[in-house]
């Protein structure tokens, strides 16, 4: 069992794989996610970033916050680049030019994963490249100021689906990337959240050591575009878990396992409150949106419980 002390030693100091001086907004959840995931690798890590906040804020020329080989090409092809790196690595190993074991990590935001990088991701999973794909999910295109993505939740106000007199925000539910990834029959897919460091770390360890590709989806509260006080990032992540909005679960060799089951699930209002993107939902006339949201969350949770109970292989 890892301890917080061990993890802390790997995320702090000169040997850490990502270091201070990056320009994420104050309180941004990406920092803790990425440092924890990188620390979980017992081998050197090669990182590929899709375009997005993480890529932008860590590599403002001539600075880089990466203390490990890192590469960025475009918004849509992080998984393809990781595939190429893995293929090249295998050849170099076969020819005896490299003997070191390495892990390959592709990282994208939700826009770069659920939407524009989706085809590249699906292809890489189908081709069974050995790499881990990490999506830090802040539920929108945040680097460009909160546009709607396939991960934006129902009812959220975004600049491309603004809430107003005729609209309550995004009218569709988010897509379930974890299950889509699992449908590729890969050996490890998991959903984690930034408030639970230990769970995140263990899932990243499993993902790195998976036989073939692995996908890790982590909820990342964005203080700037969800608009809440920068000190509350961890609290919003916790509320997302405690309301069952973002269940912590994993699908290992096709078998669903729920890691935490809130004994008393909190009402979804607890998560929505205080976030500017959901502020309009508390205005008269929008009550039905919250009711519908609650129902969808409860239905999804019931479905997940059934999947787990059944033991049926995904």
């Amino acid at each position: 069992m890892p301890t917080l002390q061990e993890i802390a030693l790997k995320t702090t100091g000169a040997d850490a794989r990502i270091v201070s001086g990056h320009r994420m907004c104050s309180g941004c959840g990406i920092g803790s996610i990425v440092k924890t995931v990188l620390a979980a690798s017992d081998k050197p890590v090669v990182v590929v970033s899709a375009t997005g906040c993480l890529e932008v804020v860590t590599t403002i020329y001539p600075f880089t916050a990466w203390n490990t080989p890192w590469m960025h090409l475009t918004f849509e092809n992080a998984a393809s680049v990781a595939s190429g790196i893995e293929a090249a690595y295998k050849v170099l190993k076969r020819r005896g030019k490299i003997d070191e074991e390495v892990n390959i990590l592709a990282v994208g935001g939700d826009g770069g994963t659920y939407d524009i990088g989706f085809q590249a991701l699906s292809g890489a999973l189908e081709r069974r490249h050995k790499f881990m794909y990490l999506v830090y999910d802040n539920e929108g295109y945040m680097n460009t100021g909160n546009q709607r993505s396939g991960a934006t939740p129902f009812g959220a106000n975004t600049t491309t689906v603004p809430a107003g007199k005729v609209s309550f925000g995004k009218p569709q539910w988010r897509k379930n990337l974890v299950e889509i990834a699992a449908a590729h029959r890969i050996s490890y897919v998991a959903q984690a959240a930034v408030n639970n460091t230990m769970d995140l770390y263990k899932k990243a360890q499993k993902g790195f050591s998976a036989d073939g590709p692995a996908v890790l989806a982590v909820l990342q509260p964005c203080p700037s575009n969800w608009s809440f006080d920068s000190s509350l990032t961890i609290q919003y992540s916790k509320l997302a878990v405690e309301t069952n909005f973002w269940p912590l679960y994993e699908i290992e060799n096709g078998i669903v396992h729920i890691n935490t089951k809130p004994s008393n699930r909190k009402p979804i209002e607890d998560f929505l409150k205080g976030q500017t993107r959901f502020r309009h939902l508390f205005r008269p006339g929008n009550e039905h949106v919250i009711v519908e949201m609650q129902k969808m969350i409860d239905d999804e949770w019931a479905r997940l419980l059934k999947l787990e109970e059944s033991g049926i292989q995904f």
Binding site: L4, Q5, I7, A8, L9, T11, T12, G13, A14, A16, I18, V19, S20, G21, H22, R23, M24, S26, G27, C28, G29, I30, G31, S32, K35, T36, T58, Y61, P62, F63, T64, A65, W66, N67, T68, M71, V194, T197, P223, D229, S230, S231, L232, T233, I234, Q235
Partner: protein
């Protein structure tokens, strides 16, 4: 017309030395400063694991440091916040189970340290 080159002759992309962002101090962004009260700390590492800016240094201490309740804490211990990089988000103060960190306005913290 540029000459045709084989892929072996192509130049590598931009290659930068690693971790150069350490030369970029983000502490200037701070509005609030976390004040760490070492005598309340249990060295649980919660603040360290959450800090998005890796601004809370730690060390291995065999002789131990005094913390909450006058106890001696050995092993991995939390040191004073690195104000060169801390952006003052307040996550550490909010999440510390021992309330060992409080956030004060930067100018007040400055004034207080000038008087010392």
């Amino acid at each position: 017309m540029t000459e045709r080159r084989t892929w072996q002759e192509l130049e590598l992309g931009v290659e930068l030395p690693a971790a150069t962002s350490l030369g970029y101090k983000t502490g200037g962004w701070r509005v609030l400063r976390p004040i760490f009260n070492a005598s309340e700390c249990t060295h649980c590492m919660i603040c360290v694991s959450y800090c998005p800016d890796m601004a809370i240094p730690i060390a291995k201490s065999e002789e131990g440091v005094a913390g909450k309740g006058g106890r001696l804490f050995k092993g991995v211990v939390r040191l004073a916040t690195n104000l060169d990089y801390c952006k003052g988000c307040g996550i550490c103060a909010h999440e510390c189970p021992s309330k060992a960190i409080s956030m004060v306005r930067e100018e007040e913290a400055e004034q207080a340290s000038c008087k010392l």
